[in-house]
């Protein structure tokens, strides 16, 4: 695990993200943040906590509930050389603004023959586990990773969140930064212990496309991201010597780290919180099969079955993979 173990300044994931945004905004007057309820309310998920006090409402901008309008406005502000962050409150709302996201933000650089660049960050909250039902609980990792032109980043700890956010803001391409609500450390949605980590004061970047081995192990490779990094780490306490790889970014994708691990273990379990089919798990498996079919003895995928997320707690619990599901799959690869 890449975090220096001796750090005694621990932070929540949201705290780490906000620290980065503040640091970068102090350094660059052309940065601003747009979103719903990001000013006086500090962001529904504490994503802008305290920023309005320091930067004022012009730079921490509440916007109309018009995702198409303000995300599109961010695209061209970025093209004009500013550095906007636009927050889509829940990733589940992508459907009202996807045209600006994928046809403009993601494509303009390519379509223009690289005569424009779009240095913006689109943040969005993802994930379930608190019974917010079908329209507020999705991960949708695959939906964004499938469409070219956006980098797609998913932090799982405060340490990673900081390094990835610095990198996202400094990147000259559009970056979709998906943070899991359950990991943020919000008052009304308690986080598990895992994401709260030591975080250095100074700035540092974590390059995209560098997966992180969160736990080394010899027997089975578990590839995952976001909340499920922590569930996989929990599952890894079950006896089998599991290696847990946190992808950290889906685009670009770090094939090498996964391949290397599978060469060692021969067994691959892919876990995520997105829908099972045509998504992340299929892609991870195929990358390995294309390049290391011979190394692969067995494969399991653990994801949300292809149904919308149900509301009731036992139903949602059944649908979203937990550490028991991961343990079962680990055992399956051994049988």
């Amino acid at each position: 695990m890449a975090v220096p173990a001796d750090l005694d300044r621990t932070m929540t994931m949201s705290g780490a993200m906000v620290e980065v945004i503040a640091t970068e905004m102090r350094a660059d007057e052309e940065m601003f943040y747009m979103g719903e309820d990001v000013a006086d309310c500090d962001g529904i998920f504490d994503s802008t906590e305290g920023l309005r006090e320091e930067f004022g409402r012009d730079r921490i901008m509440d916007v109309p509930i018009s995702e198409t309008a303000y995300i599109g406005a961010a695209v061209s502000a970025a093209q004009e050389g500013m550095r906007p962050i636009a927050e889509l409150m829940f990733v589940d709302f992508f459907g009202v603004s996807m045209d600006q996201i994928y046809n403009q933000m993601a494509k303009n650089t390519y379509m223009s023959g690289a005569s424009v660049s779009v240095p913006m960050v689109l943040t969005a909250a993802v994930g379930g586990t608190y019974n917010d039902a079908a329209q507020h609980s999705q991960a949708l990792y695959g939906t964004f990773a499938h469409l070219p032109g956006m980098k797609v980043v998913v932090p799982s700890t405060a340490y990673d969140a900081k390094g990835l956010m610095h990198n996202a803001i400094r990147d000259d391409d559009p970056v979709v930064y998906l943070f899991h609500k359950r990991l943020m450390g919000i008052g009304w949605l308690p986080a598990p212990d895992g994401p709260k980590t030591g975080v250095p004061e100074e700035s540092y970047t974590i390059p995209f496309g560098s997966a992180d081995v969160k736990r080394e192990g010899a027997d089975v490779t578990v590839v995952t991201l976001g909340l499920h990094v922590h569930r996989a780490l929990e599952a890894a306490e079950d006896g089998v010597d599991v290696e847990v790889i946190d992808l950290r970014s889906l685009v670009p994708f770090d094939e090498e780290t996964v391949l290397e691990s599978v060469r060692k273990t021969g067994k691959l379990v892919v876990v995520d919180e997105d829908y099972r089919s045509f998504g992340v798990t299929g892609e991870v498996i195929s990358r390995i099969v294309e390049n290391g079919l011979g190394d692969l003895d067995s494969v399991e995928r653990v994801a949300v079955p292809d149904v919308p997320i149900p509301y009731s707690r036992p139903m949602e619990n059944e649908i979203v993979p937990d550490s028991d599901d991961i343990i079962d799959s680990i055992h399956n690869t051994n049988s």
Binding site: E36, D37, A39, D40, C41, D42, I44, D46, E49, D62, V63, P64, I65, S66, T68, A69, D92, F93, G95, V96, T129, Y130, N131, D132, A133, A134, Q135, H136, R182, G187, W188, L189, P190, P305, D306, V307, P308, P310, Y311, S312, R313, P314, M315, E318, I319
Partner: protein, 304 residues
Amino acid sequence: MEGKTPGFDIGAGQIPGELHLAAGQEAAAVGVCHHLRDYDTVTAPHRLHHIAIAKGVDLNRMTAEIFGRETGLCSGKGGHMHIFDMDVGFAASEIMTEGCPPAVGAALTAKKRNEDNVAVAYIGEGALDQGAFLESLNFASVHDLPVVFVVEDNDWAISMPKDRITAPRDGSKRADGFDMTGDRVDHDDVVAVYEAAGEAVGRARDGNGPTLLEVQVHRRMCHFMGDPQTYRSKGDQTAHRKRDSIERLAEDLRAFDIGDEELEALRDRGPRSCQGGDRVGPKNNRSPSRRLLTRTCSPTHPRE
């Protein structure tokens, strides 16, 4: 985080998720829905329970749904934000103004079938700026459909006051840009809403086209249960609580010499039948896998 101590963990307890309570908005629900029949359609947004009650949704089954029970209106799959009761033409969904195009579709269906059904789409004033609503205004207008758009203006979109995000201040003025009748009830009064809605629903039912009706209401509570409302002054909270339309209706009735006893009796005639949380039906605790994965999308819908 000082001062931002939320009430509770919204992922725990008997009613998890983002529960949006509607206390203070009753006039908009009752004043409009009183004109509607079971076969009329209502679509509602995230803050929906007052509207559901006014439209006649089955209270026991709605309560069961809020508690995530099998006996709920949506078998516990939908939850309190996605209440469907097709027996009374009610559907709710939580993405801003997502219910507007479906309301237009219900009105289009009525027109195609030459029936006098009316559709009502409720939205909050914060949603006045969302594309789906705006496109729906044009669609309804150009086809002269029997639909009424009702905007519940409670001054707040979570933490954002209306004038920070929307122009003009009077949301019913949106209608002017779409060749549609617009009207606004500027005070939170059920009788005033009833009268304005009577015009609008009547217009629709008689085939004279759509209306956009904005209604002033009040948000007595936080945005969702658990929201600490740090963005909102105590004064504003008190003011909203004071403008309770139910209390004021009672006062109005007293002015007509209706006494406390009679008022109590009236209250008792309201829907009281809904059962408490523990009596709404079997918990969804048994391994739900089969039920979860079957009917993913396919109830049989026989074609005659």
